[in-house]
């Protein structure tokens, strides 16, 4: 299984085409994009701010994908997570998984997102109001 993980800013538009080596074997490609909504805790916002413990986040994502790959046999998984300021309407996270059949790719994407929100050290550390000023945050 090919695993690619990118954490940073300006990565979200680097979606990659199906690797040529996998053409012929891959019958299903499933993508999920998590978009920043316009409200946080009921207040209108213009952006969210993300922080990561990057080396551990990348390692944890890889471990999760390898574990999930035992149940959802995929040929490739590519994950991108933005950090820093992400405006409303833009993608904070993107995952694409390819497999022989759709059940594995769907399972990988859904289960990965659940695990991301449990174990991957990435945090929403703040939000900006519609004037671009930081909103008070509570842990």
């Amino acid at each position: 299984m090919i695993i690619e993980i990118s954490i940073g800013s300006d990565f979200i538009n680097t979606r990659k085409p199906l690797p040529k080596s996998l053409i012929g074997n891959t019958g299903a490609v499933v993508e999920f994009t998590g978009i920043v909504r316009g409200k946080e805790s009921g207040l209108p916002i213009s952006a969210l701010v993300y922080e990561a413990y990057q080396p551990m986040a990348e390692q944890t994502m890889r471990t999760i994908i390898e574990e999930l790959g035992q149940r959802h046999a995929c040929h490739f998984v590519h994950v991108i997570h933005q950090i820093g300021t992400v405006p409303v309407g833009e993608a904070a996270v993107y995952i694409v998984a390819g497999a022989t059949h759709r059940a594995a790719a769907l399972g990988m994407v859904g289960d990965f997102m659940d695990r991301l929100k449990q174990d991957v050290p990435i945090w929403k550390t703040g939000a900006l109001d519609t004037s671009g000023h930081p909103l008070p945050t509570t842990p």
């Binding site: 998590g34 993300y50 922080e51 990561a52 413990y53 080396p55 551990m56 986040a57 390692q59 944890t60 997570h81 904070a92 996270v93 997102m113 991301l116 929100k117 449990q118 174990d119 991957v120 050290p121 990435i122 945090w123 929403k124 550390t125 945050t137 842990p139």
Partner: protein, 79 residues
Amino acid sequence: MRILFFAHLKKAAGCASAEIHFSGEIDAEMLWQRLLSDYPDLAQYRASVRFARNNTYAITGTRFSDTDEVALIPPVSGG
């Protein structure tokens, strides 16, 4: 040992990272006692914080040495 603080724990600790030193190995309870002595405002978050030792979550029985990098991981909120 290098200690890393993330998200709201930075404010509680007053810094993003710190160095502490000791001899031999210590367990999680001993590490907490040392951290709470130096950063008492962390106490309110202790129940929800996990230790990570060298990029991997610590588990029951994990021992920590002076050369480790230890991160305090508050509840995550990515995605």
